[in-house]
């Protein structure tokens, strides 16, 4: 079975501010405590652009740049897969609100930020990367669907792929119809070739009607169950603990993705 090496991880959520500092929490060596996320993130965007863009874009780009930081491959050679259930719901709320007003004054800026691939566009511009890029959604299974597509892309092109998954709480009134409990962003730098820089080796196989893994810690489990990108937490825990074994993640609808990990 083909393998995929994890070479870098990016992570940002309340109480999980970066992969380096979060490993001890995920490994169970330190308790998980909810803390606000740092304000300055996504420093690869120029300051004026960082001010103009949305928190969704900044969260996605922050974890993307962190996952690339250690191995630091030429960003122009790395393909990308962005996975998100809700995209930028702040922008969609503003557009839907504008559409209820006289003459329906939809802002051109909001409209071009409304596409699901906005973070991918900003990433490619910031890194001058012309490689293939996908932006996808599989509702609560978005992370595993993205992982499966990232693997397929890495194997087909024999090239590194950066997987970025992110979701944020929706604004009122949408929040009453879709619960996302906290922001969560995660990125994995994946290499179809195993190198000495790998953190973990993955083998993927699709499955149906198996139950997905849960977490023992109540705070982390609330995050996992309350944000589609945080469905990655059982895999992140396995990487942090240098486990060997199987992790089962929910993929789109009825499907699951079985991930065999090996340090």
């Amino acid at each position: 079975m083909k393998t995929l090496a994890v070479e870098g991880v990016g992570l940002m959520a309340p109480g999980l501010a970066g992969w380096i500092t979060s490993q001890a929490v995920l490994a169970g060596e330190q308790p998980y405590t909810v803390q606000p996320m740092p304000a300055t993130i996504a420093t690869l965007l120029p300051a004026n652009e960082r001010r103009r863009t949305t928190i969704t874009v900044k969260l996605a780009l922050q974890v993307a740049q962190e996952a690339m930081a250690v191995v630091s491959p030429d960003a122009g050679t790395v393909r990308t897969v962005f996975a998100s259930s809700g995209g930028d719901s702040e922008v969609l709320d503003k557009i839907c609100t504008a559409l209820t007003q006289p003459d329906r004054p939809v802002s051109p800026t909001h409209f071009h930020h409304s596409v699901h691939n906005t973070p991918a566009g900003y990433w490619s511009i910031a890194t001058r990367c012309r490689q293939p890029s996908l932006s996808l959604c599989a509702y609560d299974g978005s992370f595993a669907a993205g992982l499966q597509e990232a693997a397929a892309l890495a194997w087909a092109d024999q090239a590194r792929v950066l997987l970025v998954a992110y979701d944020l709480p929706l604004p009122f009134p949408l929040a009453e119809h879709r619960t996302i409990v906290a922001p969560f962003g995660v990125a994995l730098l994946l290499n179809p070739v195993t190198t000495s820089q790998r953190l973990t080796l993955l083998r993927l196989s699709p499955g149906v009607a198996e139950s997905a893994d849960r977490l023992d810690d109540a705070g982390l489990e609330r995050l996992r169950a309350g944000n589609p990108a945080a469905r990655s937490l059982p895999l992140l825990r396995a990487i942090a603990r240098r486990w060997a074994g199987r992790v089962v993640l929910p993929a789109g609808a009825a499907a699951v993705c079985r991930v065999d990990v090996e340090p």
Partner: protein, 398 residues
């Protein structure tokens, strides 16, 4: 070396030209377009649109009521045409329900349902109506979830949402997922329906034309938003396959600007070159290019540069947006199926509404339809965020 081709076992399109592939093929041959002055809901905009008739009057069957919205109605209509459902059932018996992937493209999904809910907010609490169902209508995954349930499939499923390249890229994803062994066959498709977000959004950007769109015309002044759905069942090709084949795909990013295409068409050219390389084909072997051709002044100019760089001025090209409008996230599948119909029936469509070729553009634009055998044909789809995809289809023999 060329990649292993995928066969298009079944395919279908529904759009402003009518339901099913025959309606589109007849309209392409006769030069009869489907655009009309904007009459969607109460939109008061001086533009033309490509609307599918009578969607408003056809709710989903009761057991799918949760999914009921314009986008899923359009998906349902298309799934019922051209024997697609029967072909998928045959494939299901052959491979198993969990071994057929579902990869669908959309840009705005069922956001129309949310637009409507925002018009019905509670005057005191500001809340949306209790009947509003975000997961099964607005969420981007909704149309893939509906499609896989309608077809009885349980395997890998996701939606690609990369604006106007969405449902071209599903072909590349299907190839990769099948190659990786995650599935043995795939249903790919694209569905995008009219909504106020895109109509007023393109109007705000100044990109919507007040007339039927005129790709490559010297006086072109913008696009017309359209709606469409299309699907295809993909399986690995047999050695002597006489079905239409996906021979190559190319994907790239412009890395230039969020809404403006790279003026030299650098990313677009890369996508076309990669589609050719994966098929091990030379530019001069391509008989026809179905252009993205939205009819905005800058997009057509950028694509023209890219086509000239890869193919020169000799390859026959046309844009079919003058028939359907720009169907956004469904443009990729719509024009992929058009290309397959053209290969099967030996047709190069013209470029509807275009009268005077822009003298500043050099690609080999065909204005009137030509009947002649085709072996290889390319389809281009490009979108906001600088996302590009080109697909190369062909037939053996002929």
């Amino acid at each position: 070396m060329a990649i292993e081709p995928l066969a298009i076992t079944a395919c279908t399109v529904t759009n402003a030209l009518g339901r099913g592939s025959a309606a589109s093929l007849a309209a392409l041959r006769r030069g009869e377009g489907g655009l009309r002055p904007c009459d969607f809901e109460d939109a008061d905009l001086p533009t033309w649109i490509g609307r599918v008739a009578e969607l408003e009057a056809e709710p989903l069957p009761a057991e799918f009521a949760l999914f009921d919205c314009r986008n899923n109605r359009l998906a349902w209509l298309a799934l019922e045409q051209d024997g697609l459902g029967a072909a998928v059932q045959k494939a299901r018996a052959r491979y198993g329900a969990d071994r057929i992937g579902v990869f669908i493209g959309t840009s705005t999904s069922g956001i129309g349902a949310t637009e409507r809910a925002y018009r019905q907010r509670d005057p005191i609490t500001g809340g949306l109506p209790a009947t509003f169902d975000y997961q099964h209508t607005h969420n981007v995954f909704s149309v893939a979830d509906f499609t896989r349930r309608w077809l009885g499939l349980t395997g890998a499923a996701f939606v690609i949402s990369t604006a106007c390249s969405s449902s071209a890229k599903v072909f590349a994803s299907a190839w990769r997922q099948m190659r990786a062994g995650f599935c043995d066959a795939a249903v790919v498709g694209g569905v995008d329906s009219l909504c106020l977000t895109t109509l007023y959004g393109f109007n705000a950007l100044g990109l919507a034309s007040s007339q039927p769109c005129r790709p490559w015309d010297a006086r072109r002044d913008g696009l017309n938003v359209g709606e469409a759905a299309g699907f295809a069942l993909l399986e690995w090709a047999e050695p002597d396959d006489d079905r239409a084949l996906l021979l190559g795909y190319g994907e790239s990013s412009d890395a230039y600007h969020m809404t403006a295409a790279h003026p030299e068409g650098v990313g677009a050219a890369l996508a076309m070159q990669q589609a050719l390389a994966r098929a091990d084909a030379k530019p001069e072997q391509v008989d026809y290019i179905n252009l993205h051709g939205t009819a905005t002044p800058l997009n057509d100019a950028a694509e023209d540069r890219a086509v000239l760089r890869v193919f020169g001025p000799g390859t026959p090209c046309s844009s079919t947006k003058g028939w359907t409008g720009h169907t956004l996230g469904a443009a990729g599948i719509t024009e992929a199926v058009f290309v397959c119909l053209c290969l099967e029936h030996g047709l190069i469509p013209g470029t509807l509404n275009t009268r005077q070729r822009d003298p500043k553009l050099g690609a080999g634009i065909v204005l009137d339809p030509q009947e002649r055998p085709l072996r290889l044909a390319l389809s281009n789809s490009f979108g906001f965020g600088g996302t590009n995809c080109s697909l190369l289809f062909g037939r053996r023999g002929g």
